[in-house]
């Protein structure tokens, strides 16, 4: 019993250690990959531009729900004008980065993990090594960097669309005054709120992309293994995102 517990603990530590080691390898290879920017820009397209539709749609609906719920709540205190502030702070600091990261893990993270896992299963990675092409440099780092760059941009787009959605419901439908909606928002939201959101989305981008490429790269080279790698990517990403979210929020307070 204690032996099993000990074993699972050492397994977890070993996994964490190998992720950190993998991240180190990626960072060491980053400068060389930056010189071939076309590889990265292709990956920005794959994980960023292709996630745009789902991010924008989700952002719009999250913002609209915030507008509706916020209005119902604030109306009780007769301060509907604070809706802009409430929705913007909620979106920029929390919902934008977190929901975008969760969607990103589901949309782009799984794609990365299954792509790399399939490359592993069909021996494409080994073939590259045979041709003296480093698969980390040629395949993994561009995907990782593409995700890291795309994530803050996606979170920013999510927040902006969300604010528009809150404005749509609050101002256009519920009749909150447009002037006070924007001016109260502007006087209450500070630059550090926006910075916190950007820092969060950047950290989530690193975490999501790292987990996805790690799981894909070290996937068991079978059909089942690729499937498991994809599932683990989504589950681990979601837990890690929420955990990091708490840490960063506490650090910024």
């Amino acid at each position: 019993m204690i032996g099993e517990l000990w074993e699972s603990l050492t397994d977890a530590l070993e996994g964490l250690g190998s992720v950190v080691h993998f991240l180190f390898r990626l960072v060491v290879n980053t400068p060389r990959v930056l010189l071939r920017f076309s590889l990265i820009s292709q990956q920005i397209f794959n994980s960023g531009a292709l996630s745009l539709i789902i991010i924008m749609l989700s952002g719009l609906f999250v913002g609209m729900v915030l507008g509706l719920q916020g209005f119902q709540l604030l109306q009780r205190f007769g301060s509907e004008e604070a809706l802009g502030t409430a929705a913007t702070i909620g979106l920029v600091k929390e919902l934008g980065p977190v929901v975008t990261a969760l969607l990103f893990a589901g949309r782009a993270g799984t794609a990365l993990a299954s792509e790399l896992g399939l490359m592993r299963a069909t021996d494409q990675l080994s073939a590259m090594e045979m041709m003296a092409v480093d698969p980390i440099q040629r395949v993994v780092v561009p995907r990782f960097l593409g995700g890291v760059i795309a994530m803050p941009l996606l979170a920013g787009i999510f927040s902006v669309i969300g604010i528009y959605g809150a404005q749509l419901v609050g101002v256009q439908i519920m009749g909150v005054d447009s002037g006070s909606f924007w001016s109260q928002m502007r006087s209450a939201v500070s630059l550090s709120d926006v910075t916190e959101g950007i820092v969060k989305s950047f950290v989530f981008g690193v975490a999501c992309s790292l987990i996805a490429v790690y799981q894909g790269y070290y996937a068991t080279p079978t059909a089942e293994g690729v499937g498991r790698a994809t599932t683990t990517t989504v589950v681990t990403s979601a837990v890690v995102i929420l955990f990091l979210d708490y840490l960063i929020t506490a650090a910024f307070l």
């Binding site: 920005i44 795309a150 941009l153 902006v160 500070s190 926006v194």
Partner: protein, 173 residues
């Protein structure tokens, strides 16, 4: 070639859209927009006995129109006064040197801001000049304290003759 062109176009427009969103968030949803791409400005100093909970970034207004912002609040340990740095828009460069600065509260429980009232001097405030006439923040707690003190004093005054009166009337009976 064609395919890579559409790919680059997609990537480019995505990155542009993303940065536009971040730009919108930093300049349009916060009051910071004024500071980053702010118009020409000049800075003046005002010393207050008490600034209350005045914050950096609070507006400076004249007749209710915003003319600048508070950029720094410091403490002068020689004079024991709060030193407030005001950044005023260059457009409003005809503010007399003997204008006075007071700290007001927006609404009942809102934040503090600085209101300038024009004086009558012929010389105008320049970069680095100091506003000499200042009025401290209105601190709600000390005001409540004063009101309570005056109430208890009033009560004591009322009770003292009232206690003396019955005896006087008894004596006359």
């Amino acid at each position: 070639m064609r395919k890579s062109r559409t790919l680059n176009l997609g990537t480019g427009s995505f990155v542009l859209l993303g940065f536009a969103a971040l730009f919108f968030l930093t300049t349009q949803t916060t009051s910071h927009g004024l500071a980053v791409f702010g118009p020409a400005h000049y800075q003046v100093i005002a010393k207050f006995d008490n600034v209350g909970d005045l914050k950096v970034g609070a507006p400076v207004s004249m007749s209710g129109v915003e003319v600048g912002r508070v950029t720094k609040i410091d403490f002068d340990s020689n004079e024991y006064k709060a030193v407030v740095l005001l950044r005023l828009n260059e457009r409003f460069n005809k503010i007399p040197t003997d204008s006075d600065a007071s700290i007001y509260t927006q609404g009942l429980l809102g934040g503090k801001f600085i209101g300038l009232t024009a004086g009558g001097a012929d010389t105008y405030l320049k970069d680095g000049s100091q506003i000499d006439f200042t009025q401290s923040a209105f601190v709600l707690e000390s005001l409540i304290g004063q009101v309570l003190a005056s109430f208890t004093k009033q009560k004591a005054d009322e009770q003292a003759p009232a206690r003396a009166d019955p005896k006087a009337t008894e004596k006359t009976k």
